[in-house]
């Protein structure tokens, strides 16, 4: 019993002690939150070709991911992007993608990612994903954490194919890659 008590006091002490060290945390931001806000900004710097949606319609931002990803996007629901209201649609299945102007794809099996991006290739859907692998598979915008900071990569080839235009102000901040999807 004595050992049990000792162990428990030790844990309590450890917890309190370590919490004192916590200050470093206050300077940094949680990645998933940044991803959502960055996606909002990317939408603001993108123009869709005319027929993609009519003037009054909202900008449908479709999110495919787990509950953590979906929750982070709640914060940007109803925000404005170039006179459009962002409307978040959480996808349960990768279906009816025609309604999406922006598709945020969190982790997806390699074998499913590539054919999906191939199918979206010529449609005016801005695809945003989380790494270089995503761009190589034919995705347009990749957001990756490198050395503690987010890096924005844009696959110009894929963007052009879909007739979307991304503002040069954003392109300047991005790591530009020009990757035709490997199979032609």
């Amino acid at each position: 019993m004595l050992t049990t008590k000792k162990t428990l006091s030790l844990i309590a002490f450890l917890l309190l002690f370590l919490s004192g060290l916590n200050q470093a945390w206050s300077r940094s931001v949680e990645k998933q939150t940044v991803l959502a806000v960055l996606t909002l900004n990317i939408a603001r710097f993108t123009s869709w070709p005319e027929p993609a949606f009519n003037a009054e319609a909202p900008l449908n931002l479709c999110v495919f991911g787990d509950n953590i990803v979906q929750q982070s996007f709640e914060a940007i629901d109803n925000k404005k992007a170039n006179n459009k209201t962002i409307h978040i649609i959480n996808l349960s299945r990768l279906r009816n993608l025609d309604r999406c102007q922006l598709l945020y794809l969190s982790k997806l099996d390699r074998s499913r990612l590539k054919p999906l991006l191939m199918e979206l290739k010529t449609r005016p859907v801005l695809t945003v994903g989380e790494n270089m692998e995503f761009l190589k598979a034919g995705g347009m915008v990749g957001l990756e954490k490198i050395n503690g900071k987010m890096q924005l990569s844009i696959n110009l080839h894929a963007v052009k194919q879909s007739k979307l235009v991304i503002s040069s102000r954003l392109l300047k901040l991005a790591n530009i890659v020009d990757l035709p999807a490997r199979v032609h």
Binding site: E30, A75, E133
Partner: protein
């Protein structure tokens, strides 16, 4: 033990209150909204290991154990990682034996839980169960472990009666570079692992690994060393190739060898009618698997998988070698835009060979078995993003119980983005094992009482008429992420079992010589029935970005229709609780604490039932990353007691208590 629980509460509560008042700079996202892209790209970003419900939309009781969970709890084996899942009954019998099940009917030879490692079935026909000591993977290369409670027979086939465990390792593209793990301590005396992953060409990546460990012995319940120490060496590889835009190929394999020490208690014909001895088991095995995946479109693909699996074990009780070849085809496609159909067909071939052991004889000693199966499942989208109905069934034919149909119907309703409700009705069977059909085992010798009563040998005798056990299962589940930073997953179930196994004693057969022993033959028959019901709750609370709580609770009620059943089948713990705190107090420090409470339960065995007293246990891990690619960690396991008893094996093993353990570990990525 109750003392410690009470004392703990105010302690933890006070820390909770304390932490809750520490503010973080970007606590509101509004501030972040104001930032420009330049600023956003310059802000210091941290990844927090939040608990995701990635399979949110499956109409089943699924729990996912992630790589991060495995690492942060300091698990050194698959069973230890499984302790994190709600509703799973994980008990360590001794250093090298585990009893694991879901929703009741536990035992070393528990037969109602199916286990798959990267699509390969780890469930053996020999006793209808899993040799857990044989199943290992490079834990650092595990992507996730999916734990599915409830029947999964429609997709995965017979024996997925109470649950399925899917161990999924990472794609080799995600394990590039080197990894070195080394450590040691009191119970985990020494362990090491090395993995290296590289690129073979533009389309192909691969990795290879080798690992080994030596684990210390525990303590016998009656005192003294348990002689259950063991060691193991295992190596393997995985190669993944995307050889065309639409075709991928995975080839992987593992081989292992293990020397397992154990203390056994065998019956014997003459006084003292029981023999206790130490022995060393030599066991080895391996597997090779290839899977080809062809993608037609994002909604249509097929896969063809072939594997070969082999193991051999050599112990006084049984000497067995088993070869399995399995071919599995699956095709997924979408129909009319609202049907997602998966169908498949599989064939499995088993060749085994047994040698007569001290108290065991298998007749015939060698057997070739076949299994043919096919399944079809359709997920109908009744209302887009809101209501889905899944209907399906497996049909199989095996050489032990013949034809089996295992259908399921599941409904999933998403009334709101943050609420999911589902219900299911399914049937599953547990097919007979080789031993149940063909073994003769001396289970126990009841001592002679001279001058009139001779010794009686209780002999388990195989019965080829023994048929499958059956369950009809009703499940109801609810998941919500409605409260900010909290997710709750509740599943209630009612399982109705029929044709459960019981041992039926024959009339005593008198000895033919005056000094001989009388015999009672025990045959397996499908005579028991009963029901289990209960619920499981899994809750996650992300209290702060750097502090997460995971709490699981499960209640299981077991009712047998026959009196003898609890003596023959045991009673699983009625309640289980686990509470985990995961803290990142500093960017490069991780602190994890796991508490477990296991209710009193009963293990059925040939030596009578054992009541296993309820217990509380605690594991702690503290890790520090001094530089980017190096991590040092210190782990304490089963800290609350010097030793505690978790389970008694059905027969032969000597009751062993699990010792407290500590170990240190170094992980180096390069």
């Amino acid at each position: 033990m109750n003392h410690s629980k009470i004392r703990l509460k105010p302690l933890l509560m006070s820390s909770v209150v304390y932490f809750a008042f520490i503010p973080t700079a970007y606590s509101g996202q509004d501030e972040l909204m104001e930032l420009s892209v330049e600023d956003l790209l310059n802000v210091e970003v941290i990844s927090v290991a939040k608990k995701a419900k990635s399979l949110n939309d499956s109409p089943a009781a699924i729990f996912v154990i992630t790589q991060d969970d495995i690492k942060r709890i300091g698990a050194t084996s698959v069973p230890e990682a499984l302790r994190l899942a709600p509703g799973l009954d994980v008990a360590r019998i001794d250093s090298n034996k585990w009893a694991i099940t879901a929703r009741g009917f536990n035992g070393r030879f528990a037969n109602k839980l199916l286990v798959l490692i990267d699509g390969r079935n780890a469930y053996t026909r020999a006793f209808s169960g899993v040799y857990w000591e044989n199943q290992d993977v490079m834990l650092e290369d595990v992507e996730r472990i999916e734990v599915i409670r409830g029947p999964g027979a429609t997709m995965w086939g017979a024996n997925a009666v109470n649950g399925v465990i899917n161990i999924i390792t990472k794609h080799s593209a995600d394990t590039q570079g080197g990894l070195l793990v080394a450590g040691g301590g009191t119970e985990e005396q020494g362990f090491g692992a090395f993995r290296y992953g590289g690129k073979i060409n533009a389309d192909t990546t691969a990795r290879a690994y080798v690992k080994g460990f030596k684990r210390d012995e525990n303590t016998l319940k009656i005192g003294g060393e348990a002689g259950d120490d063991w060691d193991k060496v295992q190596g393997g590889f995985r190669m993944d190739s995307q050889f065309t835009a639409q075709d991928s190929l995975t080839v992987q394999g593992d081989a292992y060898r293990s020397e397992i020490n154990q203390n056994s208690t065998f019956p014997q014909f003459s006084a003292p009618y029981i023999k206790n001895f130490n022995e060393t088991i030599d066991t080895f095995g391996g597997n090779l698997l290839a899977r080809h995946n062809h993608t037609f479109s994002s909604t249509s693909d097929y896969s063809l998988q072939v594997y070969y699996d082999f193991y051999q074990r050599d112990e006084a009780f049984i000497k067995e070698s088993r070869h399995v070849i399995d071919i599995d085809f699956q095709h997924r496609f979408s129909l009319l835009g609202w049907n997602d159909i998966v169908w498949g067909a599989a064939y499995r071939y088993n060749h085994d060979n047994f040698q007569t052991g001290t108290i065991t004889e298998i007749n015939p000693s060698s057997r070739n078995d076949q299994l043919f199966s096919t399944f079809m499942q359709d997920e109908l989208t009744l209302i887009d993003d809101t209501l889905w109905l899944t209907l399906g069934s497996k049909f199989e034919y095996n050489d032990y119980s013949g034809f089996e149909a295992q259908p399921t119907a599941r409904l999933m309703w998403a009334p709101h983005q943050q609420h999911r409700l589902w219900g299911a009705v399914s049937r599953a069977v547990r097919t007979p094992s080789r031993l149940e059909h063909n073994a003769t085992i001396l289970q126990k010798t009841i001592p002679a009482q001279p001058p009139f009563i001779p010794a009686i040998n209780a002999i388990f005798t195989g019965n080829e008429q023994f048929d499958s056990e059956e369950v009809i299962s009703y499940e109801l589940g609810y998941r919500t992420t409605f409260i900010d930073n909290v997710s709750i997953d509740i599943t209630a179930f009612y399982n109705k079992y029929k044709k459960l196994r019981t041992g039926v004693d024959s009339q005593p057969i008198l000895p033919t010589t005056p000094t001989g022993a009388a015999k009672v033959l025990i045959t397996s028959e499908n005579r028991l029935s009963g029901q289990t019901y209960g619920f499981e709750i899994a809750a996650v609370w992300q209290m702060l970005d750097w502090w997460r709580w995971d709490a699981n609770y499960s209640l299981l009620k077991t009712e047998y229709d026959q009196q003898v059943a609890s003596d023959q089948l045991g009673l699983s713990p009625q309640q289980r609780v686990s509470l985990r705190s995961a803290i990142l107090p500093w960017e490069n420090i991780e602190l994890d604490v796991l508490f477990r409470y296991v209710d009193t339960n009963t293990a059925a065995s040939a030596f009578g039932t054992a009541v296993i007293k309820d217990y509380v246990s605690m594991d702690i891990r503290l890790a520090w990353q001094p530089i980017k690619d190096i991590e040092l960690s210190l782990v304490g396991q089963n800290l609350l007691a010097k030793k505690h008893f978790e389970y008694r094996q059905e027969m032969l093993a000597t009751d062993t208590e699990i010792d407290r353990g500590m170990y240190g570990k170094l992980t180096w990525h390069f």
